[in-house]
Every structure is written in C-alpha cells, then in structure tokens.
C-alpha cells in the first residue's frame, strides 16, 4: 500500500515535470481562475456587509408621552429590549433630544432657534434598532400597544424599499458568484483534460502491459491535486500580498462599514484552497475515467 502510494506520488511528480509546459499552463489557468473566484467572493462579502450595514440603519423611533414616569420607561425599555427581533434599545430623554438638536443646528452653521423657546418642545424617545428590517411590524405593534407611547414614527414604505433593494442585490451577487464558480469549474476541468489527453499514449501503454486501473488512475489524480494545490498556494500568496494595500484603501473608502477583514481573508483562503484541490482531483478523475471505461 505504501509502495503504491509512493509509486503514485513519484509518478505524479515525474508526470508534472516531464510535461512541464502543459503542467505550468494548467497551474497558471488554475491560479487565474482561483483569483477570479476569490475576487468575486470578496466582492460578494463586501456587498453583503454593506447591505447589512444599510439594513441596520433601520431604526424604529417611538415618542414617549411627557407624562410617563421613569419606572414606566424603564419597564418598556426592558420589555422591548427582551424581544428577540430587537438588536438594541436606547432611551433618549427630552434634554438629550434637545442637546442633539442644538448640536446638529450648530454643525450646520445655523443660529440656535431653541434659545427663543421657554420650554423644551421635544419628546423623549425610544430608538430601537432591529436585527432584520423584516421584523418592523412586530416591533412597531409592540411599541404601539404601550400606554406611554405617544406615537411610532411610520417608516414602513422606506423599510420596504430598502429591503427590496438589498434582497435583489444580495441574490444577484450570489447568482454572479455561482456563475463565476461554474465558469472556473469548466475551464479548469477542461485544462486538466487537455493535460491528460497529451498523455493518452502513456495510458494506452500502461493498459497494454497490464497495469491495473488504480495504477493508471492515482498518479493522474495526485498530479491533478498537485496542480490544484500549487495553483491555490500561488493564488493565496498573490491575494495575501494584495490584501494589505487593498484593505487599507477599502478601510479609507468604507470607513463607515463594520467590515472585519480577518474572517473574510480566512474564508477566502479556505475557498481558494478547497476549490483548487477539489477541481484538480475531480478534473483528473473525470479525465482518466474516459480511458478506463473499456
């Protein structure tokens, strides 16, 4: 068994270098295709992160009656905060609301209009962030049901529009990633097929001298795996080299996005490695099969 594995690995290595041009062409194709796939995968991740960022902006604002006591407000905050659909609840008191308003006016370079007022005209509010904009109704109804809530700001139409747009973009991204994946699959399998085809004579001789199917198949599968592994490692190397400047640029561009590049980088590396190895092995398996069916 070890002898067989040793034989297959040795033959795979020889096969790779004896047909160096073909093997390098296959590896290069693999690298380019994996980079394409990784590029689309990262784009898809950025897209999804951007979309959830936009969706998190959906905030239900419920204005509280001026007559509400601190206890009543605390109870409501607790009750709403405990709902599974709710990400966070912040209570903004009348004074805070006024201070915010003033700060905004100053920031926009306008005079303080509130100085002319005797009393604070603003209501205190509960600002509720949702886990998903789809839960808007549930949360709105819960807030409406409370006696201390004066009114809930109606953002139904806005939320629906945001949800529609994000859903379409998200699905389109997944479809494009799928199509790119298929293109990569076909091109890589075809390239490996060509490399195996170039060795048809060798396979024929192996059959004639009485080599068993395993002895014919496994060297090619290991060779395909080698092409996949090498391609994946080169692609990961290129991605790693490009990641630093790219993420610096992206951080500048998307500094509002809570995008964590760590897990995305890990996922991309795993995707590239898995796809490379898988395609190399599966591609050669399929290509050699043609010769072994007889």
């Amino acid at each position: 068994m070890f002898a067989f594995i040793g034989f297959s690995l040795r033959r795979a290595w020889q096969g790779f270098w004896r047909n160096a041009l073909m093997s390098l062409a296959a590896t290069l194709t693999m690298v380019l295709m994996l980079l394409l796939l990784a590029g689309f995968f990262v784009l898809q991740n950025v897209l999804v992160a951007s979309l959830s960022f936009v969706e998190q902006k959906v905030e239900v604002v419920a204005y509280v009656q001026n007559t509400a006591t601190a206890d009543q407000v605390d109870a409501l905050v607790k009750h709403i905060g405990a709902m599974p659909e709710v990400a966070s609840v912040t209570f903004v008191s009348r004074e805070e609301a006024l201070a915010k308003f003033r700060a905004m006016q100053t920031a926009q370079g306008r005079g303080d209009v509130t100085a002319t007022l005797d009393t604070n005209p603003l209501y205190a509010s509960l600002n509720v962030k949702l886990r998903s904009p789809g839960d808007l109704d549930t949360v709105t109804n819960a807030l409406d049901g409370s006696p201390i809530v004066r009114n809930v700001l109606n953002i139904q139409a806005l939320v629906e529009r945001v949800t529609t747009v994000t859903t379409v973009i998200r699905n389109a991204g997944a479809v494009i990633l799928g199509i790119v994946g298929l293109i990569v699959l076909f091109i890589v399998v075809n390239t490996i097929r060509l490399a195996v085809l170039a060795r048809a004579e060798e396979i024929e001789i192996m059959r004639l001298v009485g080599a068993s199917d395993a002895f014919i198949r496994w060297p090619f599968i290991f060779e395909g795996g080698l092409v996949g592994l090498l391609g994946a490692l080169i692609a990961i190397g290129i991605l790693a080299a490009a990641a630093q400047p790219a993420s610096a640029a992206m951080a500048g561009f998307f500094n509002v996005l809570p995008l964590e590049l760590g897990p995305v980088g890990r996922d991309t590396a795993a995707l590239v490695l898995g796809t490379g190895l898988g395609l190399g092995v599966a591609g050669s398996w399929l290509s050699v099969r043609t010769y072994l069916i007889r």
């Binding site: 002898a3 067989f4 024929e204 001789i205 004639l208 001298v209 080599a211």
Partner: protein, 255 residues
C-alpha cells in the same frame, strides 16, 4: 503473484538453462466460433476457430482489413467477441471480471509496427515502465530490465532515448518491454513493417530465439519472404474467415 517454485519454469529459468522448457499439451490460445461485429455494423471476424498450443510460432497473414488486427485486439481483450469464446491461457476472456483483465495482459507481450515507446523515457525506463506500473518492487525492476536488455542486445543503448535509436533498436526495445513480464504469449502486429529487410531478419531471428525458449508467438505480417523461408505454421485470414491453416507452409500469392 509470487511463483517461486511453480511447476512452470519462468522465462528467465528457461533462458539461463536452470530449468528446461517444458512442452506441455496446453493451448495458449483457443478461439471457438468467434464472430466480431463492431457497433458500426462492420463484421471483422466470422466464425473463427483457432487453437495455438504452447510453444507454437504462428504467422497470421492476409490482406489489410482481413481481421488480423481485430483478432489480436480480442486476444488482449481490448475488444470483446460478439459471439463465441476467446480463451487465453485457460481464461475465457468473455467471462473475465474487469479487474482480472490486467492479470491476463501481463501474460501477453504485445509488439506493434510503430513500436509505441515513450519518447521522453530512456530504453531502460521504457522497459522498466512495464514492471513499475504493474506494482513490481523497485529493487526487482533494475535486474529484470538488465536481463531482458542483454537478451535483445541493447545493454549498450540502455540510457539512450528512443529518438537516438535506429528502427531495429526501437523495435528490440519494444520486444524487451513485451518480454519483461515473462509472458506466455507474444503478439506481434507487423513488427517488421517499418524496418528494412536486413534489420527485419535480425528481428525475426530474435523472435525465433525467444520462441525456442518456450514463448508462444503469434505474428501478423505481410512479409512473404520471411513466411516462406521459415516454414512455420501459417494462418491466413480473408474477409474475417480463416481460409488456410497449414504447418510448414509458404506465403501464397493469393494472401
């Protein structure tokens, strides 16, 4: 797989004279009522009967398309007979399980007109390849290859590539590869087709020597001079039928 004290002397034992070739009454090849019809409807062999006993030297003659190549492809089970039985060394190829096919092929050495050598491997590697890909231990490959190369007279050329060899040397490399498994039967499909007459004769001498060591030889050829002067058994095919099967025969003009 190891046949250390087999009742049957190995090729090397016969060659080195340690054990004498035994003339058994075994038949290496038996074809019984064999018809081969290809999927495109062409019938290459019609109801062929042929028995080749151990140690025989048989010329297979006949015009192109008479079915010589088909017959050889049936023997190595590259194709299956549409009707009838093909038996090689006691194994009915039609009933053979797929995974047992390689075992049968190791009992048959095949030599082609176009040599079928791997151009990027040396003579030594080409011959050793046949052993390596059938799972022979690496330590045993070298000595076995050296022995068959000595037999075919290619020891000096062992490290050359096929492109550096003459046609005759390339064909002897192919014969060495066919011999390295210690086969019962050698099938040669017009092995002298690409060689000039003098080199052809040398090659025939080599095959005769191998035959004297007890290996059965089935050789398809168009070479009338060789067939006529050797007076061996001649099987003539025409249009898929055996039209003549004589021992000590000549190459008829009609063939």
């Amino acid at each position: 797989m190891t046949q250390t004290a087999s009742a049957y002397p190995t090729f090397m034992e016969r060659l080195t004279g340690r054990r004498a070739p035994v003339r058994t009454s075994r038949d290496v090849v038996v074809l019984h009522g064999v018809t081969k019809r290809y999927p495109n409807g062409r019938v290459a062999l019609r109801d062929v009967d042929l028995v080749v006993p151990e140690g025989d030297f048989v010329f297979l003659v006949g015009p192109s398309g008479a079915g010589k190549s088909t017959l050889m492809r049936l023997l190595i089970r590259d194709e299956l007979a549409s009707k009838g039985h093909v038996v090689v060394d006691g194994n009915d190829l039609g009933r053979l399980r797929r995974r047992d096919v390689p075992r049968i092929r190791r009992k048959i050495g095949v030599v082609f007109q176009d040599f079928k050598l791997l151009p990027r491997k040396t003579v030594r590697e080409n011959v050793g390849f046949a052993l390596e890909v059938t799972g022979t231990k690496r330590a045993l490959v070298g000595p076995a290859v050296d022995r068959v190369l000595a037999l075919v007279g290619l020891t000096a050329q062992a490290d050359q590539l096929p492109t550096q060899l003459s046609g005759g040397e390339q064909q002897r490399t192919a014969i060495a590869r066919a011999l390295v498994h210690d086969p019962r039967l050698i099938i040669a499909d017009e092995p002298t087709g690409n060689l000039d007459p003098v080199i052809s004769w040398e090659l025939i001498q080599l095959l005769l020597r191998i035959n004297e060591l007890g290996v059965t030889i089935l050789m398809a050829t168009h070479d009338a001079e060789v067939v006529t002067s050797l007076r061996k058994r001649v099987v003539a095919l025409e249009d898929g039928r055996v039209i003549r099967d004589e021992t000590g025969a000549t190459y008829h003009q009609a063939d």
